[in-house]
């Protein structure tokens, strides 16, 4: 494992992988700088990239910004968990029962086509200016992709596999536990990943409308003061927050839905083989006595 990581981090490999995105970044920053140099845009509207970097550095060394980062992170994570829990809680019964599906389906779609940001002021009126209102806004936005993807995952579980479970006499609970849940995980995770990104959107939108803390509040303040370099720096922070959420989800996906990732599969195969070997050795090298079997009955 460690050797593999080292291998992936060797300078040559890193260089080969990293030059295309870095080149693009250089072009982008160059064009940006050029646009200001030739006075295509005013420096007051679009700050120098260098100034953004300086603002970013100064902000993260200040005391107050970490409170804002913490607020936004807490709102989006809690909103994501709440939205995902609601999505799962409604998608699972909908996936298993056609009646539930017909009962809930139309309203899930209605909620989806309504611009949910429009509900945000109402939620603030109900839940106040504190964290809870932003958590609810994030949850409502994160809900839908989890609901739809989990439902799709359950409904697209292989029909032949279901027939096989039935022919083996599996109970409903066994089919759910051993077939439906793992079978719908890959599609479900696609929804969870989308939801993680959307929950951050929900939190920031809530902060725009009314809040005391949060990166959304900061962006609004800096922009209204025309402190553009600072505003850009806060947007960079939001990007890093988004990357963090995405990275966590990506990691969760790779560990949970391991069977879609070759490296994980190989490692698990090895581990299982080693464990079986150990078990055999524990039994003194003698395999346990076979149950009377069909094999060789004739």
């Amino acid at each position: 494992m460690a050797r593999k990581v080292l291998h992936a981090l060797s300078p040559m490999r890193l260089a080969r992988r990293l030059w295309p995105p870095l080149l693009f970044l250089a072009i982008l920053v160059g064009l940006w700088e050029l646009a200001i140099e030739v006075d295509y845009v005013s420096e007051r509207i679009l700050p120098h990239p260098k100034d953004v970097a300086v603002s970013f550095w100064e902000l993260i060394r200040s005391d107050f910004v970490w409170d804002d980062i913490g607020a936004t992170l807490w709102e989006s994570v809690a909103g994501f968990v709440l939205g995902a829990a609601l999505g799962l809680a409604l998608a699972i019964p909908s996936g298993l029962s056609p009646v539930m599906r017909r009962m809930l389906g139309p309203y899930a779609v209605a909620l989806q086509v309504t611009p949910r940001i429009a509900i945000a002021p109402l939620i603030i009126a109900w839940a106040g200016f504190g964290y809870s209102s932003k958590i609810w806004i994030a949850a409502i936005i994160a809900f839908f992709p989890v609901y739809v993807n989990t439902l799709t995952g359950i409904l697209t579980v292989d029909e032949e596999a279901r027939e096989m479970f039935r022919s083996l006499g599996a109970s409903r609970w066994q089919t759910f536990q051993h077939l439906m849940v793992p079978g719908s995980l890959p599609v479900m995770f696609a929804g969870l990943k989308t939801a993680a990104g959307l929950s951050l959107v929900g939190a920031v939108v809530g902060e725009f409308i009314s809040a005391e803390r949060g990166l959304g509040v900061l962006v609004q303040q800096f922009a209204s003061q025309l402190a553009m370099a600072d505003a850009f720096a806060v947007i960079l922070m939001l990007m890093f927050l988004g990357l963090l959420l995405y990275g966590v989800m990506e990691w969760l996906e790779r560990t949970t839905v391991f069977w879609l990732h070759d490296d994980r599969l190989v490692a698990r195969s090895r581990r299982r083989a080693a464990r079986a070997e150990k078990k055999l050795a524990r039994n003194g090298g003698v395999p346990p006595k076979p149950r009377p079997t069909l094999v060789g009955r004739r």
Partner: protein, 287 residues
């Protein structure tokens, strides 16, 4: 009287299979089976079919002749529209533990190793113990997969996946194996090899096998009896006894006796140039 004398004669054949025969394990008896799907499509029309314990029966026919439907009915997966199906002397009304169905695709669980997949039947039956595990190892060895017990399906070839499915099927410990074009998804060469392995496995077990296929050579080479079906609605056109000796070998494909059986099956299917009267007669012969 005749029945009695046969039962008496059987122990002379030596041990295992006769004991199975006396208990009637693996008998399939289908009478006047009719299946109509929603929308009035008649998939099967008054079909009679039977199999003796340990017998290998093939059902051939073009797509849409209801052969897969027949298997699903015997497996108890879909309800009958008319007639009765009895397996082991008990009427089939729902999926049962003594009847196992093998599908066209391996339908392995991708999140489980070959061994775990084979252990699925005892796990669902709540009798997963060391004996079951040992048996799973043995069966994987029997289908030629020792060394691949802890490999995940994603890293197994199509043919190997189908072998895992076969091992899982045998794990059920059933009297009746229902095989629905079990090797349709693999290439021709692998398929021929798997067929012979299936035969070898069948010869070692006492289970009755019912194989559905649209390949006449395959059906004839494997079976004791070939049932030829015609579509719309599904009916039995001919039943052909295959008197070739066992164990069967691929070389038998070249024998004139084999060719004759295959030609007779073709005429039952009404595919090549056959006059009407001939096939009618075959139809009366049926079942």
């Amino acid at each position: 009287m005749q029945e009695d004398s046969r039962a008496l004669a059987k122990p002379g054949l030596g041990g295992g299979p006769s004991a199975v025969g006396e208990r009637g394990e693996g008998t399939i008896l289908a009478e006047n089976v009719t299946k109509e799907f929603e929308g009035g499509v008649r998939a099967l029309d008054d079909v009679d079919l039977s199999a003796r314990p340990g017998e290998f029966v093939s059902i051939v026919g073009p797509s849409g002749c209801g052969k897969s439907t027949m298997l699903r009915l015997i497996a108890g997966l879909i309800p009958l529209s008319g007639g009765t199906i009895t397996v082991n002397g008990r009427q089939v009304t729902e999926p049962r533990q003594d009847i196992a169905l093998m599908f066209q695709r391996p339908t392995l669980l991708p999140w489980q190793t070959a061994l775990q997949n084979v252990l699925l039947p005892p796990k669902l039956g709540k009798n997963l113990d060391q004996g079951a595990e040992r048996q799973a190892y043995e069966l994987l060895d029997l289908v030629g997969l020792s060394g691949f017990e802890h490999t995940y399906p994603r890293h197994l070839s199509g043919g190997m996946q189908q072998r895992v499915a076969l091992a899982r099927l045998l794990m059920v410990g059933v009297d009746v194996l229902l095989l629905d074009e079990p090797f349709a998804a693999v290439d021709q060469l692998t398929r021929e090899r798997l067929n012979l392995e299936l035969l070898r496995v069948h010869e070692r077990l006492s289970a009755t096998a019912l194989l559905v296929t649209h390949n006449i050579q395959e059906a004839t080479l494997l079976a004791d009896r070939v049932i030829v079906m015609t579509p719309r609605p599904g009916r039995i056109a001919d039943v052909i006894d295959v008197p070739l000796p066992r164990p069967r070998a691929p070389e038998m494909l070249a024998e004139p006796e084999f060719q004759e059986l295959v030609l007779r099956a073709y005429s039952g299917l009404q595919i090549p140039l056959v006059d009407e009267g001939d096939t009618r007669q075959a139809g009366v012969n049926g079942a």
